[in-house]
């Protein structure tokens, strides 16, 4: 039989008032359900917290003290556009509706949030440190952010990062996790130093296989011993010019929700390799074995499977480059237009490590396709903007579908692609609804 553990959460979950009494000897005012009746319990709770509780008489009964369990507010998301869609508030997972991704360079307030743990508190840029260590580094070296800026040349790139689970909501049978529709993708302008310059400075050895990052985000259980997420990429990807240790997004501090003051940005791969609140990079002589590197996290079956099939861990492979994909960012879905009206369409397309070669749109559910104008990327791993215009002659309900093709000739599927247990890599064509009246 499993050993029964009793923790503060369990006690409070069972019965908060009783937990108050058991843990602290606390009795609250039964009328106001606040405070500490005859001060019972206040001293014990104060001692546990290491400080006196200010406004103790206002403290509601049955509340785990904030210091012991910082609750996350679900009505306050600093620095983010109010129309972003909150999928989860503990941890924060917030997606951007397609029409808000219309900018070529995604503004900070429209950049999606995909957090695995709790956002670190009390971030101090001046004392922040990044350590480079691991089997393939002879001597660990620690840098301050100021030292990184001083020792290495800074580069700025527009880099597309997309959550591996973007599009998960469409899988059938459903896959567990945050039910992203299309909005866990963005392309901002990132400034930082090249990881390769830093690793060369640290005399990276030739036996390096993988890098693994560590960040300061706290595990949901608030147990500091538990690593929230520690993923990475093969050394070849790590040493690409565009792999950055970044401190700025669009010329300003990175938003706290997106990894301020320091993060990795590794374009074209699942965003989970771009570690946030970065404090350590280990250069490994094995495939990194950090938290969420193991199956089934961020892995897909090595071979196609039937929907709902059970797949053994050893039959799963790590996701590397993301597949070709595109979005229609203008107009917003639901547009009502007049017969013959010229409708301008635009959006972006991206293809993992590759460039997008062609972009097509269809207004007849994929029966015929019209080629769109596609701009080249400003730099490797940035999304490419496209535009087209259409005019519809008959009344009725239409859908505009957008399909990108990468430089190897691989296109987006029109239905949801191969089912996989965790619901990754849905790159089905984006669709918007139009009505002609």
């Amino acid at each position: 039989m499993k050993k029964k553990r009793i923790g503060i959460h369990e006690l409070y979950a069972k019965d908060p008032i009783e937990a108050d009494r058991l843990l602290w000897g606390r009795e609250s005012d039964p009328a106001s359900r606040r405070g500490f009746l005859k001060q019972a319990g206040l001293a014990a709770m104060s001692l546990a917290l290491g400080s006196k509780i200010v406004h103790a008489n206002e403290m509601p009964a049955g509340l785990i003290p904030t210091l012991l369990d910082q609750p996350q507010s679900d009505f306050e998301l600093p620095g983010k556009h109010p129309d972003l869609v909150v999928l989860n508030d503990k941890p924060w997972n917030v997606e951007t509706p397609a029409h808000l991704l219309d900018d070529v360079i995604t503004p900070a307030d429209k950049f999606f949030v995909r957090n695995n743990g709790l956002v670190p508190e009390n971030i101090d840029v001046d004392t922040w440190e990044l350590t480079i260590d691991g089997e393939s580094i002879p001597e660990p070296i620690t840098f301050s952010i100021a030292q990184l800026k001083e020792l290495f040349k800074a580069y700025t790139y527009q880099l597309t990062i997309e959550c591996g689970g973007n599009g998960r909501a469409e899988f059938n049978p459903p896959a567990k996790g945050n039910q992203w529709s299309t909005g866990a993708v963005a392309c901002a302008s990132w400034t930082g130093v090249r990881l390769k310059d830093v690793l060369e400075y640290c005399k990276v050895k030739s036996d390096a296989v993988y890098i693994g990052y560590y960040g300061k985000d706290l595990h949901l259980s608030r147990n500091p011993q538990k690593v929230t997420i520690s993923r990475g990429v093969p050394i070849k990807k790590a040493l690409e010019d565009e792999t950055l240790i970044a401190w700025a997004m669009n010329g300003e501090d990175i938003p706290v929700l997106n990894g301020h003051p320091l993060r990795l940005v590794i374009g074209g791969w699942p965003a989970s390799v771009s570690g946030k609140w970065l404090t350590r990079i280990s250069v490994r002589n094995i495939i990194h074995d950090g938290s969420k590197m193991e199956a089934p996290s961020y892995r897909v079956p090595k071979y196609p499977v039937a929907p709902g099939e059970t797949v053994k861990d050893e039959d799963m492979k790590i996701i590397e480059a993301m597949p070709v994909k595109s979005l229609i960012t203008y107009p917003k879905t639901g547009a009502t237009v007049k017969k013959g009206q010229t409708i301008k369409l635009r959006g972006h397309a991206w293809a993992g490590d590759l460039a997008v070669k062609e972009m097509h749109i269809s207004v007849d559910f994929g029966a015929t396709w019209q080629k769109a104008n596609l701009k080249p990327a400003p730099n490797r791993l940035a999304w490419q903007s496209w535009d087209a215009s259409i005019s519809l002659k008959e009344e009725g309900y239409y859908e505009v579908w957008a399909k990108a093709t990468d430089e190897k000739g691989i296109s987006q599927p029109m239905v949801v692609p191969g089912w996989n247990p965790k619901g990754y890599l849905n790159n089905a064509t984006h669709r918007i609804a139009l009505k002609v009246i």
Binding site: K4, R5, I6, G7, H9, E10, Y12, A13, K14, D15, P16, I17, E18, R21, L22, W24, G25, P30, R33, Q39, L42, A43, A44, S46, L47, K52, A61, D74, V86, L87, N88, D89, E170, N172, P173, P174, K176, G177, N178, Q179, L220, S221, N223, K226, P331, T333, G334, A335, T336, V337, T342, I343, M414, V415, V416, A428, R431, I432, A433, K435
Partner: protein
Amino acid sequence: MSKEEKELRKDELDLVQRIVKRMNVLVYASLFIVLVAMFNIMAPDTAERWFGETEKEALPEEVVAAISDDLIENGIHVKTGLIVDDGFNQVKATCLACHSAKLVTQNRADREGWKKMIRWMQETQNLWDLGQNEDIILDYLAKNYAPEDKGRRAPLKNIEWYTLED
């Protein structure tokens, strides 16, 4: 600051000072916690009954209502967004101790699927043994958050129509 508040503050300070001088209350409290924990480890069933009974005694209805913020609209608990049905209280107390209700409400699975999620949380996320509550929770989830057959591609939903000018 009113006279009453001053007195309260003085009382608090007196108490804290007294505790710092004589740590015995803390020792008793720790001892009590250890005893409770040991009781749970050594006699979990008795502990369950004992806890269960005190729970009923210790919670007057209006207290439950106030701390749980019980506004319900169209069968949905407004604060959490959860469907109110048998097992709602167990789900609220158990699942929401650690994560957002949105992690429940945005997911769909059959009983076996929900059970897998619970096992995964127990293996990797410090979730405790749910005891008798497990069946109640699974019944609730499997009934209220069951998968729908979406086919290979569902029709576009929730479209807000607007006029697009030239």
